[in-house]
């Protein structure tokens, strides 16, 4: 099974930072949107999410591997902070162009985000479209984009060791990760949702979870959330998809996961549905080397163009819309 621990390093823990610098208005907006960081756990197993709603959390309070969410406390970083967008080629971009290929770290396990079609060997999904768009924009040639599978637990390491140039892999922005790698501006917001079999009478998260046998990926923010709820039994598994297996086999009543993964599960089984109601929001970004500020600026420019040109929405409509309840706008992060 996919290791839950490794995944936990993933996205999450994002904490919004109070925008002391930005004033109360910003803080309020951020709290609303990102609430602090949340994990989007679309990639394999969910990661522990962190971020609580309040955007300001002392770093020390962040507990990476423990999977504890830091709901209280305040983030002391701004998850939306990145370098200004630019079309200039700096030294990092020039170096990548010189080696004639941009290596993008991706996922193979998250249906509709980044997964490998076992029959064709084709890799496809929302993140894959974005990865190809970024690569093509920077390299000017889709053939110069190399997609490499990156294990969830090794994402930061792969960047730091230069084994990939950028990572587009349902990676949550967190304060802690911001210390280790550079993030683009956020390109997706997400939150925790509940899935139940279609036959379930439950209409709300509370109805679905109270007194139920509930499932979550171990180490995920969903697990943390479920611990605070009056469930009859909490079943934790290594990969969020294991929850779907158990739900199909009738061994659990409900599954909590982030909405990206919930969409992914609903896409694979028409007999489950995603309930209204969400908790613990967060944002995802493209990660790269901290020193490659010019590359980050380029990526931010591509992201802006990608969104403004309608590609972001088209990708959303293609891969996610059928399974997410909300409109695309709800998922485009906009710091105000």
């Amino acid at each position: 099974m996919v290791t839950s621990t490794s995944t936990s390093t993933g996205r999450d823990r994002g904490r919004g930072r109070a925008a002391a610098l930005r004033g109360a208005r910003t803080a309020a907006a951020l709290a609303l949107l990102a609430g602090g960081a949340l994990v989007l756990g679309t990639g394999g197993p969910q990661e522990p999410s962190a971020a609580g709603a309040p955007r300001q959390v002392p770093l020390a309070a962040q507990q990476e591997q423990s999977g504890q969410s830091e709901q209280s406390g305040q983030a002391d970083c701004d998850l939306y902070r990145s370098v200004p967008a630019s079309t200039e080629d700096g030294p990092a971009v020039k170096a990548i162009k010189a080696k004639r290929s941009l290596v993008v770290g991706i996922d193979l396990n998250s249906y509709r985000w980044g997964s490998r079609n076992p029959n064709t060997g084709q890799v496809e999904g929302f993140d894959i479209d974005l990865a190809r768009a970024i690569g093509t924009a920077i390299m000017g040639d889709p053939d110069k984009v190399v997609l490499k599978a990156v294990p969830t637990a090794d994402r930061i390491k792969f960047i730091q060791e230069g084994r990939v140039d950028i990572i587009v892999r349902t990676m949550s922005i967190t304060c802690e990760r911001m210390e280790q790698v550079a993030f683009s501006r956020p390109y997706f917001t997400t939150s925790q949702r509940v899935l139940v079999p279609r036959s379930s009478p439950a209409k709300t998260m509370d109805e679905a979870l109270n007194g139920a046998t509930a499932c979550a990926a171990s180490g995920s923010s969903a697990e943390e959330e479920l611990k605070t709820r009056p469930v009859k039994q909490l079943v934790t598994v290594q990969n969020h998809l294991d929850c779907l297996v158990l739900m199909q086999l009738g061994k659990v009543d409900a599954t909590m996961t982030d909405d990206g993964l919930a969409a992914s599960q609903a896409a694979q089984d028409q007999t489950v549905r995603v309930l209204d109601g969400e908790v613990r929001p967060g944002v995802m970004g493209v990660a790269m080397l901290k020193t490659s500020t010019d590359l980050t600026a380029r990526v931010n420019q591509v992201l802006n163009d990608y969104y403004n040109g309608g590609s972001w929405r088209r990708a959303y409509d293609t891969w996610l819309k059928p399974y997410l309840l909300d409109d695309a706008d709800r998922h485009w992060p906009t710091p105000r």
Binding site: V2, T3, G105, N117, N119, N239, Q265, Q268
Partner: protein, 473 residues
Amino acid sequence: MATPVRTEGPGAHTPERPAGTVPAQRRAGGTGAVVLPSGPLARLGRATRTAPGRLRLAGALLAVLTLAFGALTAVQVNSRAAAAQRVVDNSQPLSQAAADINRSLADADATAATGFLLAGAEPRAVRDRYEQDLRTASQLIAESASRTPASSQLRELLSKLNQQVPVYAGLVETARANNRQGYPLGGAYQRYASEQMRTVLLPAAAQFSAAENALLAEDMKAARATPWAGYALGLLALAGLVWVQLTLFRRTNRVFNIGLVAATAAVLAAVLWLTVAANGAATALARGDREGGVPLRALNSARVDVLTARLAENLHYVARGSSGVYADLWSKTTEHLVTSDPGRAGPGTLLQAQSLAPRAAEGPIAQAVADYQQWRERHTAASKLENDGDYQAALDATVTAREADAPKTAEAAFAAADRQLADAAVLEEGEFRDAALGVDEDLRTAAAAIAVLGLLAAAAALRGLGRRLAEYR
């Protein structure tokens, strides 16, 4: 015969009072009391006071001894024959069937994962192998159940296996269906199915196998047990015969009483037959164990470990690099296969199977070890590709549907090792059968012969003493 000083020939018909009779009578009669108490003991006591009485008594004693020897030894040898037959007809085949159930299930699991990785391109041969594995397992489970007492705990294990095999197969089919639609959910099902296999089915199969091995060891022990009672009675009968003959010789000066000599010869022959048959059986069975049974059990363990390693390798790719669990399982299992660190629990199962192998199976096992090394190298090379992020290349180096590349994959090296081990298993089973086959018949023949010889000895002894007795009439 060497010329005796005096023989009881036709010319020696003069009845004679054996020398020394009187003192002997005195001794036997104690004080020579005149009182004649009644009762069997008293009559026995009186009988010993006369020469014919003593002769009759000796005759009865020898007849009882030789008959008891013949009968009891025949029974003992027969029970060993029965045990030897159980070994060949029952417990060895059942023990091997149990091992085959275990191996078929492990093979089904590894093969299902291979098929999963190849998805829509899964070759017919892979699917056939998986189905054959499940068929073999189900068939062996049914056969074993029919030969296992209904109430035993073994029957419960078999019925658990019987129930769980279809459940497992159902999970594998769900995994296939999802996988063919391109859903990663298929991978989760495949991992779930495999977990059921490894936590429910295989432990039950291993438990069943261990129990069958214990039953085999019991039968083996019974078949090889030394028939001490037979030896003891044989020696006692011989001692009785010699004593009677010595006594007769002292009293009559006749060296040979043909009847008694014949009885002695018969008992000697029986003891000799017993010795040869019992030793022969024990030796043959020990050889069967050494050349077949023990190596085969070691080989069975190694084969299951090889399959587990293959499973771990496959599931690692099923999980698509998002889990370290299967890489750990691979390391642990391969360690278990070939560890040679003396500080550990001894050499790995594959090395054990190699060191225990009989000459006939040495070749295939050595080849299997070489294939295994190659497999390991290819696995390591594929892992490196995967660590570099090239999942597709790593997968292709592990298993592929492209025939041209197939011989270069880890799968091919595994399959070669597996085939060699299967060949070795057939050879080792043959060694066991060759050694153990016919042992029960030899023992049964010996039992019959010993019974007959015992009867002959008794008859001859009575006849020999009867002639002496006739001299008193």
